[in-house]
Symmetry: C2
Subunit: 199 residues, 2 copies
C-alpha cells in the first residue's frame, strides 16, 4: 500500500496513474487472448480486443515478446499475491494445498509462454526471476507453516516442493480429458505430502 516508490536501480521512469491502468488492462486482455488462441495470437488482435490502436500496445510493449513476458510475470505475481491472501484467510495448510492446485493449473499456460519466449531467444529465467522469487518466498512460508501445524512431512524442502509441482503438472497434462484419473493422481500427491504414518 505504499504510494511512493523509489526504484532501487535505475529503470524506466514511473508511469502515470492512467498509463499504469492502461498497461494493466492491456495485460489482462492479452492474457485472455493468449489463453484462447495460444501464444501465437497477434499483437493486433490484443489491440482490437482492448479497443485501442496498435501504437498504444507498442508504446507499452515494444515487441510481442515483451508482451508475452509481461503476461507471464503478471501470472507469477498474481500467484504469489493469491498465496499471501490465502494464508491470511485460512492458515498455512489450506493455503499451501490451495496454492499448490493453482500453480499446477497455471503451469501449462506458464510453460506455453516460457516455450514461446525461449523460441524467440528470450531468457525467461532472468526475465521472470524477481516474480519467481516472490512466489518462492510465499511457498516457503506456507510450507514451514503447514509443517509446524503437523500437516506436511517435516523433511520436505522448497526445491522438491517445486519439483513436485512441476511433476504434478506433467501428470495432469498426461491425463488431460480424464478428470477422474486426474483427481486420483492429485490425491496420490496430496496424501504423499502429508507426514508418513509411523510403522
Amino acid at each position: 500500500m505504499t504510494t511512493e516508490q523509489t526504484p532501487p536501480v535505475p529503470g524506466p521512469k514511473p508511469l502515470r496513474a492512467d498509463a499504469r491502468r492502461n498497461r494493466a488492462r492491456l495485460l489482462e486482455v492479452a492474457e485472455a487472448v493468449f489463453a484462447e488462441q495460444g501464444t501465437g495470437a497477434s499483437t493486433e488482435e490484443v489491440a482490437r480486443r482492448a479497443n485501442v490502436g496498435i501504437a498504444t500496445v507498442f508504446r507499452h510493449f515494444p515487441t510481442k515478446e515483451a508482451l508475452l513476458e509481461a503476461v507471464l510475470i503478471r501470472r507469477l505475481e498474481q500467484l504469489a499475491e493469491e498465496g499471501r491472501r490465502l494464508l491470511a484467510e485460512s492458515g498455512p495448510t489450506e493455503a499451501l494445498f490451495a496454492l499448490f492446485d493453482l500453480i499446477v493449473e497455471a503451469s501449462p499456460v506458464k510453460n506455453a509462454f516460457a516455450a514461446a519466449l525461449a523460441d524467440a531467444g528470450v531468457d525467461v529465467g532472468a526475465a521472470a526471476a524477481e516474480a519467481g522469487h516472490a512466489l518462492h518466498a510465499v511457498l516457503s512460508e506456507l510450507l514451514s507453516g503447514a509443517q509446524r501445524a503437523g500437516a506436511v512431512r517435516k523433511d520436505l524442502e522448497v526445491p522438491e516442493l517445486i519439483a513436485i509441482l512441476v511433476g504434478t503438472a506433467r501428470m495432469l497434462e498426461h491425463l488431460d480429458g480424464h478428470p477422474a484419473s486426474a483427481a486420483r493422481a492429485r490425491a496420490v500427491v496430496r496424501d504423499g505430502l502429508r507426514p508418513p504414518v509411523a510403522g
Copy 2:
C-alpha cells in the same frame, strides 16, 4: 521359453540364430553408445564399437532411425520382462515399487529416443505400441496384486499410474544433481500410492 514362434501377422522372415545373436549384440552396443554420447551418435561409431563393418549394421537396421527405434523397443521389452521376473521373485507389491523406480530411471533415456525419432518424423507411438502394451499388461498385473495385498490404494487405475510415472520422471529430471531432494520427492509419491489412512 517357447522355441517356436508363429508370427501373428505377416512380417519379415525369421532371422537365423546367428543373425538374431548379431542383431541382439548390435542393439546392446548401440544402447551403450547412445547412452554415452546421446542419440546424435553415429551408426559408424556403433559399428566400430561392435567390431563389425557398417554394412552389417545397415543389414539389420537400414537407417539410423530404425536403430534408435529398435533400441527403444528393446528397453520397453526389457522393462516388461524385468517386471515379470520381479513378480515371480518377490510378490506384486515389492515388484510394483521396484518396477516403478526402474521405469522412472529409464524415462529420460526413453524420452531422448522418442524426441530424436519424432524429430526424424517417425511415429514412435505406433512403432513401440506392441512393446508398450506388454509393459502396460505387466504394470496392470502388479497393480492389481499390490492392491489385493492392501499395499496400494484401491481406487488407483493403470492410466493414472502411468501418468504418475511420467510426472515422477519429470520431478527427478528437475532435481537432477540434488539426490537428497530427489529421494524426498520419491518418498512423497511412494507414500501417496499407499492406501490413505482413514480419518
